[in-house]
């Protein structure tokens, strides 16, 4: 390649860098605008979770901006790829950017763990929509999120036993095969589910995320004679697993947690495989709780017909910040106070109030769902 092209490449890239800086700094200078950061995986292999959640935050924000408020709010996207090492670089940057007064996220527990020290030092309030690791709000843990960390999602301590109860409900002589996906989320949930199943576990396995072939697990489930299979992991893998189970001739119950509770699960699992699956979640599918008008607006804004997981919780988390900003709180300390002492409304009309260590008071209710005619159907509180 000739020198001209090389030189022009250099010019273009230099220009891009300079423009990028000015774009960022000019945006920061706009009057009466406050910034909320949104930290989740937006690129890389875990991007699905973050991109789904982002639609919830964007939608909440668009509703807020439609009311023509005196204080404008903008999102700063902090992509942590769901990885702790990236989060450890992003977090100090967000924490030292004084324009940012609150943070929606981080989405992943590992990334949260790595980000906490920086945010604690910066006094930045965060509300996570999907970090379910128990230790984050456990006052006895070596490192917890007190006082800045809050979450609008039930932690595994509540969900695990509920999942065990719901999965085995109405089964005489339950014999459970417990499978996790070897992620911090799946393993964590499985660890809090298994104690409630004492003596009923026929076998366990850990199938790493993104495995394509589940036939060997199916063989083991069949050999163990289990009549209940509990899967702790995310929807794309759960869909593959349940399909392999049904195709392999397994007739028992399939149950899973909030990672699976998204409309893409029955969709990906195909016509009949997911039918009757038992799912628990602190996260309610957004289309079930939002009004029809909201759903139309949501689809128009995002181009997505069926919202993914944690859209509801992200929407709620964003709205908590927006409520505080509406009350005129535009400093980090103000937001922190407002969130800690205030009481908020969730999209389903529920009341959200945080306890001292950041969980929702009364432990966010864990809902029980099933798949009926290819749709997620709410059953009861598990």
């Amino acid at each position: 390649m000739n020198k001209k092209i090389q030189r022009s490449l250099a010019v273009v890239s230099a220009a891009a860098l300079v423009l990028g800086v000015s774009a960022v700094s000019s945006a920061m200078a706009a009057p009466k605008t406050v910034y909320l950061a949104f930290q989740a995986p937006l690129t890389g292999p875990n991007a699905l979770t973050g991109q789904d959640e982002l639609t919830g935050a964007k939608f909440a924000l668009s509703e807020y901006n439609a009311t023509n408020p005196s204080i404008k709010v903008e999102l700063v996207l902090a992509d942590d790829q769901g990885l702790a090492e990236v989060a450890a670089v992003v977090a100090p940057g967000i924490a030292s950017n004084k324009k940012i007064i609150g943070l929606i996220g981080p989405a992943f527990s590992g990334a949260t763990q790595a980000s906490l020290p920086a945010y604690k030092a910066g006094g930045l309030a965060l509300i996570s929509m999907s970090a379910t690791r128990v230790s984050l709000t456990d006052r006895k843990a070596a490192v917890n999120g007190f006082p800045i960390f809050k979450r609008v999602v039930a932690n595994d301590q509540y969900q695990g036993p509920a999942l065990a109860r719901y999965a085995t409900k109405g089964v005489t002589a339950p014999s459970v095969y417990l499978v996790d996906d070897k992620t911090a989320y799946g393993k964590g949930l499985a660890d809090y589910t298994s104690p409630s199943l004492k003596g009923k576990i026929a076998g366990t396995d850990s199938v790493p995320e993104n495995t394509s072939d589940y036939t060997s697990v199916v063989a083991k489930v069949k050999a163990s004679g289990a009549n209940v299979v509990i899967y702790c992991g995310y929807a794309p893998d759960a869909a593959k697993f349940v399909k392999a189970l049904r195709d392999g001739g397994y007739k028992g119950i399939f149950a899973s947690g909030d990672g699976t509770l998204k409309a893409t699960f029955p969709n990906n699992a195909g016509n009949t495989a997911a039918e009757g699956a038992r799912l628990t979640a602190a996260d309610v599918p957004f289309e079930d709780v939002a009004t029809a008008a909201q759903m139309v607006a949501y689809t128009k804004l995002t181009g997505i017909k069926i919202p993914g997981t944690y859209v509801t919780s992200t929407y709620n988390a964003t709205n908590i910040f927006l409520t505080c900003i509406k009350q005129g709180k535009t400093s980090r300390a103000g937001i922190q106070n407002c969130i800690t002492s205030g009481s908020f409304k969730g999209v389903a009309g529920d009341t959200i109030k945080f306890d001292r260590y950041g969980d929702i008071v009364g432990g966010a209710a864990v809902g029980a769902f099933t798949i009926k005619d290819g749709k997620i159907t709410y059953v009861a509180v598990a």
Binding site: V217, K220, G248, N267, N271, G308
Partner: protein, 317 residues
Amino acid sequence: MNLQVLSSQFWSLCLQGVALGFIYVLISLGYTMVYGVLRLINFANSEVFMVGTFATVVAQVGILQNQTNSQPLHGFRLLYTLAFSLGFSMLICGVLGVLVELVAYRRLRALGTNRLASLISAIAVSIVLLETTRIVTFSRPQTSPRLLDKWSFGEIAGANFRIDTVAVIVSGIVIFFALDRFVTKSRLGKAIRAVSMSEENSKLMGVNLNRVVSLTFFIGGLTTGAAAFFYTTVYETTQFNVGFNLGLAAFTAAVLGGIGNLRGAFYGGLFLGVLEQFASAILGSQWKSVTVFLVLVLVLLLKPNGIFGEAVQQTRT
């Protein structure tokens, strides 16, 4: 350790392992063909596979207008749909393979630079393919409809001979032997082998080097595309990050058998498929990859060029 599973599920695991193995065989042909000719690991092959799975879905849902929840097809419509999506996926992957060669390898090959530059350049192409697909699909998994009703031929000793399992095995064998024949018997196949033996000498004999290399990438793409089609038909779902794990497994299979050697890829793929099934059944799925790599190290220690060695010559680096 879980040995009780072996008593009732032994043959079932074997059958499933062989079926999975054939998907590995088809992908690993993409690695092994290119390696045989260029002595380069075609790192972008896993992403070519990924694009192929999406091409299959596009063919079935987008072009032929099957709904995601439509009922299984029968008769002529079924054959036509499967044949069309297989052809579409193979063609897309074949063309993509050629493009990958043009973008990532052609210039570097002409300059005669070190092999690592090509390696990084191929990795860069895979990043581009992966991220483009991710952005286009909103990071979401895509489902292909269940077009093939999964009826079973029957069970033998606990192994369920389901139509998709049998179809993968039979077509895998057919594609492999067709390719093997092509490479050993046809004029172009001979040109490929000549280049893999000696670039310089084949040039002297009037072989158009660039055309042969493009052809090799095209054929590697075709088999990878076929693998993508079978993968999508069996598992009925795909995602932008599906390539890495399968690509790694297929590459391992190629090395196990002896990379650069078509038959090596064949036996390596089957061996790996069965090994993975038994490793995850007996030791637990979390130890599957560890077992595979330990076996790989052992095999390489005993047979430094893979089980079947290299067809053409010893590797030189």
